[in-house]
Symmetry: C2
Subunit: 411 residues, 2 copies
């Protein structure tokens, strides 16, 4: 099959999610295939920030913690994320960063399995997840051990030694999806707990935490949730654990009665116990607008379009002149999330040149070009035009210009 631009235009006309693109302010001169790293700007965000700043902060001042409901934002927004990940509204809270939330929940889980030492994770997992676990293990001294095994060996490594299994649902490079229900079942069979990082799945595909029986989960607000650069993250804990869990970052916002100002910590009942310090209201405001872009959108439709977009892109990338790009994501769309990665030894320079031509994907060391498909605002013609521009970059050899090999801080 050869995909034509006309065919892409037809798919856009027929796209049941086509109307959602209007909720975003995507620059006309850009084809944005990096919404899996930083979601695009929702159209309503600037005005909401202006209101939160000039009116709520400027005029309301300290009073707005009550009158504008600032104090409730972490649980209100958590409740809205719950719908996207198969959780109850009172099982999710928005707070801190993904990294910090991983530390909280991994700590809580380890304390629930005092007779076991092993935290099991995947080699090549998103680095901050491994780093945070290393920090935790070091702090717990002899009471914990991080065991990192290759992806293919994970299932067999879930033994009775394992206290906690920490996996990223969709891999940040390859896009591979872990079998959440199957691995959770396997973990529970040996009385191990599970902690899922949903950063690359929430907002892009159907996640069903409670359907899978997951124990804990975390995820980020700035990718598919469109909450803005460095948006607050979220934490999920299954309700059955709320009474027994105890996380160490016991800040006042997670206290049962934060405004009683007593000396002794007493965790809030329910998911509020994962809250810690005072959250950024402005960051929460932007995240709210990001979540608004999902209003009236079913995740099944998002997933369907995600697969369709990525399959068109994958098909176009099989053009003979792009044979040097080697797909490192699964061919079967059911086995991957909403991005595709290709290996190319000159990947960094090629991506830099491509970005200069208005197609924004990203690069992940050592040699991966990554293209993300965000069903809320990506169009099928974007797939076509992006691959055409990549062909042009390769034809011109423009990427060989010295300036494209100079690495920038964030790549």
């Amino acid at each position: 099959m050869t995909v034509t631009r006309d065919a892409c235009e037809a798919m856009d006309r027929d796209d049941p999610l086509g109307f959602v693109r209007d909720r975003f302010d995507v620059p006309e001169d850009v084809i944005y295939l990096d919404g899996n790293s930083l979601g695009a700007l929702p159209r309503d965000t600037p005005e909401a920030l202006e209101q939160a700043t000039r009116k709520a902060w400027g005029k309301g001042l300290i009073r707005s913690w009550n009158t504008e409901g600032w104090i409730d934002q972490p649980l209100v927004l958590g409740g809205r994320i719950a719908r996207l990940i198969g959780a109850e509204t009172d099982e999710v809270a928005v707070t801190d960063s993904t990294s910090v939330n991983l530390f909280k929940l991994a700590s809580a889980a380890m304390a629930m399995r005092p007779d076991r030492r092993v935290i099991l994770s995947e080699a090549g997992n998103f680095p901050t997840d491994l780093y945070m676990l290393q920090g935790l293990v070091e702090q717990l001294g002899g009471r914990a051990e991080l065991r990192v095994v290759e992806r293919a060996a994970i299932a067999d490594a879930i033994t009775e030694e394992v206290a906690l299994l920490v996996l990223t649902h969709v891999h940040y490079v390859t896009g591979e999806i872990f079998d959440m229900p199957g691995l959770t079942r396997r973990a529970h069979a040996v009385r191990a707990l599970t902690l899922w990082d949903l950063s690359h799945s929430c907002g892009a595909l159907e996640v069903d935490l409670n359907g899978a029986g997951a124990d804990f989960a975390i995820g980020c607000g700035y990718k598919y949730l469109n909450g803005g650069p460095g948006a607050p993250a979220y934490a999920f804990a299954a309700k059955r654990h709320h009474k027994v869990m105890r996380q160490p970052l016991a800040g006042w916002m997670g206290h049962a009665k934060p405004f009683d100002f007593v000396d002794d910590y007493a965790p809030a009942p329910g998911i509020a116990q994962v809250l810690c310090g005072t959250p950024s209201v402005l960051a929460m405001t932007a995240l709210k607008c990001g979540l608004d872009t999902f209003e009236g959108v079913e995740m099944a439709a998002v997933r369907k379009k995600s697969i369709a977009l990525s399959e068109v892109f994958r098909e176009l990338m099989t053009a003979p002149e792009l044979a040097e790009f080697q797909l490192v994501s699964p061919e079967d769309p059911n086995l991957r999330g909403s991005h595709l990665s290709y290996a190319h030894q000159d990947g960094y320079a090629i991506m830099a040149a491509l970005i200069d031509r208005g197609v924004i994907g990203d690069f992940r060391a050592p040699d991966r070009l990554r293209f993300g498909f965000t069903p809320l605002y990506a169009r099928f013609v974007d797939m076509f035009d992006a691959v055409e521009r990549l062909k042009a970059v390769m034809r011109d050899g423009v990427w060989r210009a010295p300036k494209y090999s100079v690495r920038q801080a964030v790549t």
Copy 2:
């Protein structure tokens, strides 16, 4: 001495910091005496957020991490806070919340004193500080113990058992100032480390961390620094500790090479090692504007005006009809920070009624009315008018209306 409104107007005319008020957008109908809880809105913040949102995020998208210097914000802003607290520019980083930063640095300090168990702090310290230490102690198991003693007993409790002394420089209720150089000297004499919470001092009075030989410090961005509700916090570590310290919240932003995406954590050299997850760019942008309000302002002048404002307020509060209000802050301005607290058994209702009359202070359980003085935008006439309105509230007895005794979530 009786302070007249004319005298206050004269002090405002002569105020060398009078020009700074124009940097803020303080509502005309409000006398704001709670900038010690949430600083007022800087005039430049809305436009800066609009730019960061529409232009940097909306148009620049992921590229802005490099082109707009987002990635450098935590250290750039930290370097600017350094000037306000007597630190070197490469000893401070902006990151996470005050609570989370306390956990990081207290953990690091405990690991530097493996032969000792005791963390010493003050009974009635700001609750989140005590809560975070309780969480840490619980996590460290037998390796740590939190010892909380009354303020007057702190100095004598600094014994050779103590690994770490954690104190809030200016007390959040009484405003009392701890003798930072003296207590640090005393701690060092027994090889204990010090961690200072500067939330109620930074931006209001002269702090000299390196002059005092302090080891670690933390503080918040949303009070005197005017960074907006829930603004990011900061962390200081004396340079002499950078090579040996190790904090457990080992997120990718604190990695030596975060974009190499390797599996093993290696802390960044210097203060960057305290960074953790991805920071909120929007929250950082607002904090930058808050710090801009200090441009060209010397902390000595800030302190001088702070004392003058609070002395005028204190004098006015000695009016006979206000005799029921009992000062709980030190009378000597050299012994207190930039706020005054008064006890009154009906404090909650009185403060609620006063706020309705346009004078915004706050209430701290069980019975404290707290009035903060922010030298960058508070005027001497505000002191006069605030006390006059308090007299009116007491005269009318308006605070006895039932609605004023209904507690709100945040008080």
